[in-house]
């Protein structure tokens, strides 16, 4: 199944037309994420990162080019239940409890919830929300909501995982803990992961490859391989090799 769960983006362009002006969100973007790989997307705001994710999830259609997820067209891949996603906003349903929000993908895919109750409890513990199972989103803080969204993205045991700045609203310490947890989950599940982030340290710590993008038009400007051994531990954040890679990503972001 390893070859079946990669992400392939080929010469994709997407232009948005709104009120007379056009925005070239993506121009000729090609990206290949092999099955089981961990790719981080980083780039200035508005360079098209979320757009790539939306295209790969079948939420939007590319003007030109093709996208395959697990060898399938995006809409078929999502229907077959192999994908998981956490959006930039938590996007929780305000009338559903934490537990019910996490179970939403199961409801969409028509999977019985009873068979997954252990899984849901485990995920709630994983994101540190034990005791909040029945809370409504309005009773949670922004960071807590985002953690619900992360748990939701994992509930289907996805083979392909899309994460759009999932840790944006977390404090620095929790963020590092979640990074280590995410690495563990990824190593256990072997899920192909595409992570959008604004954190250079996060990208370098988690990814096999960091893809740097530039805006106007949105495009890939550089791909940096991260050859740090796994499992990576918290001490790595202080390692000189780590800092060197960070600096490399930073200069690529500056356009060098």
């Amino acid at each position: 199944m390893s070859t079946a769960s990669g992400i392939r983006v080929e010469t994709v362009s997407r232009v948005f037309a709104a009120r007379g002006t056009t925005v070239e969100a993506l121009r000729d973007v090609s990206l290949d994420c092999p099955a089981g790989s961990f790719t981080a997307l980083i780039g200035p705001s508005g360079c098209g990162k979320s757009t790539i994710l939306r295209l790969a999830l079948g939420l939007d259609r590319a003007d030109t080019g093709t996208i395959e997820v697990g060898g399938l067209a995006p809409s078929d891949a999502t229907k077959s239940g192999i994908t998981g996603v956490a959006f930039q906003d938590a996007a929780l349903l305000p009338w559903r409890s934490v537990e019910d929000n996490i179970a939403l993908p199961l409801d969409v895919l028509g999977r019985p919830r009873a068979a997954h109750s252990a899984k849901i409890a485990e995920l709630i513990a994983l994101v540190g929300l034990k005791g909040f199972e029945n809370a409504l989103p309005s009773e949670l803080s922004g960071g807590m909501r985002q953690r619900v969204a992360i748990a939701r993205s994992l509930v289907t045991d996805p083979q392909v995982l899309f994460l759009d700045e999932p840790f944006g609203a977390l404090d620095q310490i929790l963020r590092k803990q979640m990074n280590i947890e995410l690495q563990r989950i990824w190593m256990e599940s072997q899920a192909t992961t595409l992570l959008v982030t604004h954190g250079i340290d996060e990208a370098v710590f988690l990814a096999d490859r960091v893809v740097v993008m530039q805006s106007r038009p949105g495009r890939i400007s550089k791909i940096i391989d991260i050859d740090l051994p796994r499992p990576r531990r918290a001490e790595l954040f202080a390692d000189p090799a780590f800092h060197k890679l960070e600096a490399e990503v930073a200069s690529a972001l500056d356009g060098h």
Binding site: G58, S75, T78, V85, F87, A91, L93, P94, W95, V108
Partner: protein, 525 residues
């Protein structure tokens, strides 16, 4: 949100003041020599008459209740269809506007002719509910937070999954607020149908029967009961809505609304033409099909072709045309004057709500109560007070346009952020400058929304007044034709008044688009 105790206290205080003033006016017979009896007399009379009431109340509530259920079921189903497949809403546009704009009083004789007793009330009650609830459903379903729908779609969920898991639940508060407005409409529809005759029971029948006798206290009693029923129906849904909105408000501010595929799409000219043509043809087709399905005798029921015969082709056509034109010449000026006056008054008062928000906030609950007051119950009372001349037409037309227009505009203006008002103030702007720079421009969308809302109501008001009070114009022509069994004329009046209402509505929509487009504003619902 919760319930604000101070506002409740304020409303109770205002109500008490009104009742006390009314009592004094009534006691002293200050208004039209006793046409306004004091509330105590009304209540005493109500107690004395109470034996008559249960049958009438039961009949009206039955018609309103069944109509409410059927009308809203159809409205919600239609709203779902329109929201999921926007093309269908383009095709049904003509039909929807016709249903919204049709003056209930004009079709009530037709319904009484073609259907047997409880059905006309049910139909008119259902029609009274349809547009409000259908619009609320469409707005609720389409204004859902797009991000929530994205989550469902990201797991391969289609339109119906999104509808089931996200949209209906987030639309529920909007739909409930639609039902809240629809409930008094259903009561009004039922009473209007009772005016058309054909039944022995109902508050409308009771009211009409009591109109000839000079007993203002009884008329006021009937009006009071009708208003209480409508207000109770309104309150039930207001309470339900209040209890569920708490948990369904979006946690964060949605960045974008779900956009329909139709929006911003430019279709080729022939497609647009076909859409408009089919949207005009649909109401006529439905009219024809319904008559065929009901097997009403051709003499009574005029199909579009029958109407064409009557109004254009038959030798007697010029006489019919002459009558219609004469009636229109009386009705139309009244409609325009009444509507303009009602709107102007509402606009002026709504602007005051910006300058003295506290005063108008206290007045608002009273205005909302009058919204639920079936205007037919008001008519006989106004006749008693103002006589049977032009004044009563204007009073009725102004009162049916003023309140909804005021509520629309004032609520809209209350949404203008305080800060926007205070910026000019901070630069020392006078009251007048403040109005000119902020209040008036920001109220434009609501002025148009109010005009759209009230144009058909104004015609309805004039016709009711003509029917019940002055014996002039279209309303009288309708009532007379009913007496002469002139079926062709009954249908003609109904047809002409529906077409006129639709026309008013369309004209307002076109002007609104032009004007708001120039100012880069969106129209208010």
């Amino acid at each position: 949100m919760g319930i604000d105790l101070r506002r409740i206290y304020g409303s109770i205080r205002n109500l008490a003041i009104i009742v006390i003033v009314w009592e004094i006016l009534g006691r002293l017979q200050l208004v039209a020599s006793g046409a306004l009896p004091p509330p105590s007399a009304v209540v005493l009379r109500l107690i004395k008459d109470w034996g008559d009431y249960p049958g009438h109340i039961g009949a009206t509530i039955f018609g309103a209740g069944v109509g409410f259920i059927i009308g809203n079921a159809v409205a919600i189903a239609a709203g779902v269809l329109f929201a999921l497949y926007p093309l269908t809403s383009r095709v049904a546009r003509g039909l929807n506007i016709a249903i919204f704009a049709l003056p209930a009083i004009a079709i009530s004789p037709i319904l009484v002719l073609t259907l047997s007793d409880p059905v006309p009330r049910i139909v008119l009650a259902a029609i009274g509910c349809y547009f409000v609830t259908m619009t609320a459903t469409v707005v609720g379903l389409t204004q859902v937070d797009a991000r929530s729908v994205d989550v469902v779609r990201a797991y391969g969920g289609g339109k119906w999954k999104a509808l089931w898991l996200v949209q209906w639940r987030s639309a529920l508060p909007v739909i409930l607020s639609g039902l809240r407005v629809a409930a008094p409409n259903a009561v009004l529809g039922s009473i209007l149908a009772e005016f058309g005759g054909g039944g022995r029971w109902g508050l409308g029948v009771y009211l009409l029967g009591s109109l000839g006798r000079a007993e203002p206290d009884r008329l006021w009693g009937i009006g009071l009961v009708a208003t209480l029923i409508a207000a109770a129906a309104y309150a039930v849904f207001a309470l339900i809505a209040n209890s569920i909105t708490g948990s369904s408000q979006s946690v964060t501010v949605p960045t974008s609304l779900l956009r329909s595929d139709e929006e911003g799409r430019v279709r080729p000219l022939w497609q647009r033409g076909a859409l408009i043509a089919s949207s005009i043809a649909l109401p006529f087709a439905l009219w024809w099909v319904l008559l065929l399905a009901l097997r009403v005798p051709a003499m009574i029921a005029k199909t579009p072709a029958g109407l064409l015969d009557y109004l254009v082709l038959l030798p007697s056509a010029p006489i019919a045309q002459g009558k219609l034109v004469a009636a229109l010449a009386q009705t139309l000026p009244m409609t325009f004057i009444g509507m303009a006056a009602g709107l102007a008054l509402a606009f002026a008062l709504a602007l005051c709500s910006q300058l003295w928000p506290a005063v108008v906030r206290a007045f608002m609950p009273v205005a909302l109560v009058t919204q639920t007051m079936p205007l037919v119950a008001l008519t006989p009372l106004l006749v008693l007070m103002l006589g049977r001349g032009t004044a009563v037409i204007l009073a009725i037309t102004i009162s049916v346009t003023f309140f909804p227009a005021f509520v629309t505009m004032a609520q809209g203006l209350l949404m203008v952020p305080r800060a926007a008002l205070e910026v000019p103030k901070a630069y020392g702007a006078s009251l007048f400058t403040q109005l000119r720079l902020v209040s008036i421009p920001s109220s434009l969308p609501y002025l148009f929304a109010a005009t759209r809302l009230t144009a058909p109501r104004a015609l309805l008001g004039v016709m009711i007044a003509e029917w019940l009070a002055t014996g002039t114009g279209l309303g009288n022509l309708l009532n007379q034709s009913r007496g002469y069994l002139d079926y062709g004329m009954i249908w003609s009046v109904a047809f002409v008044s529906v077409v006129l209402s639709v026309l008013f509505y369309q004209v307002v929509v076109v002007v609104e688009r032009r004007v708001l487009g120039r100012f880069g504003m969106a129209s208010a619902q």
